[in-house]
Amino acid sequence: MQSGKIVVENLYKVFGPQPQEAIELLKQGWSKERILAEKGAVIGVSDVSFSVEEGEIFVLMGLSGSGKSTLIRLINRLVEPSDGNVYIDGQNVAKMPKAELIDLRRRDMSMVFQSFALMPSRSVLDNAAFGLEVAGKSKKVREERAMRVLKQVGLDTFAHKMPHELSGGMQQRVGLARALAVDPSMIIMDEAFSALDPLKRREMQDVLLELQKTDRRTIIFVSHDIEEAMRIGTRIGIMEGGKLVQIGTPQELIDNPANDYVRNFFNTVDTNRYLTAGQLMADSVPIYVHNGKAPDAQTVCQELQDMDKHYAFIVDEHNNFQGSISLEKIALLVEGGSSCGLDGDVLKQISPLAEDTPLDQVIERLVDNEGPIPVIDEHGHYSGAISKGRLLTRLQGESHE
């Protein structure tokens, strides 16, 4: 068994008669179309395995009908699995007796819905307190806790309103508050923000990310919006026809899509936005090592002119970045007649970029800075340089293949 907060193993859901037979046929390599035509069984989820780490936001993506909504309902067993296992903290939800399942749902998991699914006859406060009420908490305890989560989502002043008096975005904040009120370690979110307009959607994503900073919960988030998935997802799982075709970080999926279906998802996305300094850098700036003895200005000046380069970087013997100098400056030094070494005062200090710096910050630094900017790896060692010219060719030329 894999480890993880949620581990899904060879999970199947077949709608229709004789699910076991259909699963056998699937294993023998029948297509789901053939099983539907000959056996009348609809394959909802087919042999899905994955695990979700504690505190991760795992986004499930796929076209409608790809089985993502069914899959998450198999995890909290709103839909009965036909075969396979779902472990939450090591407990097998798929095989759990009903009473234990109810207890687990009350204690440790909750769900947020696309249509908000608030109870229209309950006030905002009573809606937020619903899970606690079901679990049999006293009125005082549940109202206090509901009030606290309403405050977290910024709705405490609306506690005594009715749901229909609230806008869509606010209603989903209530949905979120209801899910948070039971203080679960995991939340399932089914297209939670899909019914909201783009501005509100972004706002709710921010609310969610902000909440994750204070209390890290494990979240499985279903979405069909790739921008949303990349914004909030730690990892993304892509579903196609009931199968999980690929799992990875947004970057991994962009870099190595498993098939055209996955690639198509990213077609509409400006993937350049997700480029990092590490991917943008190049060996475009000559390096001179300062191993106790500074490089000689005269030599460097000559070499730069020969290579038609305008800047040089100086590193120490451990490959730590020391500073940058422009050809102009070296030329001035050489002209001044002092045959000095390049170190200390003459070098320009630039704070290097980490390899995972996102594009927008790279651009910001390049705007402020005259010459190229060094990039360092996670150990602090020099690994490359980004110049304005380099960035522009990279953005214009090869988008990500």
Partner: protein, 293 residues
């Protein structure tokens, strides 16, 4: 009538006769319970003086609907008192209430059951069709045979006639609750019982209340007809006016029925729609004043 190939009617006669011969004790005890129940309700309604009962209805109208309707209620009841039909109206009200309560007591649980079981729903449906569309006079007579003349067969016949909307609209209301709302209930750990009482029934309430409203209206119309088996109330006057061809009496008693129907309809209807702040009711006006302070 052409010659019969199949004599269904004689079978029914046999069945009723069989019931009469073998189960009359059972029917007597059911009759006694119904009779006691309805007498109790009538007694409660007769207890306060006319003005107090009127005041209660006017108050309900003021609370649930608005001052205009409260004025209408007051005028309507005064009209009934002045035309001398007050007592019969209260009897009719009592019969309507008893029949309605019995209908709801049986109908709502049956509706819930039908909503939870496809099989029950399939079995119940034609029975409800039968109860609703079989002309009421047809079962008034066996009811009178089985329970004897008086208020009991009237109430039983009324229950048969008035119960279907309560069953149907309870069933429909529960089935129409948004699927995600049900899932929300389940995902937060509702037991089936909690799901019913905390999620399904509250969300089906508008539909169930529409059923209650329908049941009351149908019960009111039926208790008038039930005067033919001696149920009493305004129906007696309507019946008398027909027998004597007394158009004036017919209009007066009929008017009392109509006014009662309008009042009962609007008040029960108001319980099906949630109260909103902008309603012109005194209650919300007072409420808003209090909140401002």
């Amino acid at each position: 009538m052409s010659e019969k190939k199949l004599d269904l009617g004689s079978w029914v006669n046999d069945i009723v006769q069989h019931l009469l011969d073998n189960y009359s004790d059972g029917f007597d005890s059911v009759g006694a319970v119904v009779n006691g129940f309805s007498e109790g309700i009538e007694w409660v309604l007769m207890l306060p003086p006319a003005w107090l009962l009127i005041a209660i209805f006017v108050g309900l109208g003021l609370w649930r609907i608005g001052y205009k309707f409260a004025i209408f209620t007051a005028v309507a009841f005064v009209l009934i008192v002045l035309t001398g039909f007050w007592e019969q109206t209260v009897v009719t009200l009592g019969l309507t209430f008893s029949a309605t309560l019995i209908s709801l007591l049986l109908g709502i649980p049956l509706g819930i059951w039908a909503a939870r079981s496809e099989r029950v729903a399939t079995i119940i449906r034609p029975i409800l069709d039968f109860m609703q569309t079989m002309p009421a006079f047809v079962y008034l007579i066996p009811a009178a045979m089985l329970f004897g003349l008086g208020r009991v067969p009237g109430i039983i016949a009324t229950v048969i006639f008035a119960m279907p909307p309560a069953v149907r609209l309870t069933n429909l209301g529960i089935r129409q609750v948004n699927k995600e709302i049900i899932e929300a209930g389940q995902s937060f750990g509702c037991t089936p019982r909690q799901l019913l009482f905390k999620v399904q029934l509250p969300n089906a309430m508008p539909s169930i209340m529409a059923g209650v409203n329908q049941t009351i209206m149908m019960a009111l119309s039926m208790v008038i007809i039930a005067s033919m088996v001696g149920a009493g109330g305004l129906g007696n006057d309507v019946l008398a006016s027909i027998q004597r061809l007394d158009i004036g009496l017919g209009f007066e008693s009929g008017m009392a029925v109509v006014l009662l129907a309008i009042i009962l309809d609007r008040i029960t209807e108001s319980f099906g729609t949630p109260q909103t702040a902008n309603r012109s009711s005194l209650f919300s006006w007072v409420n808003s004043k209090l909140q401002r302070q």
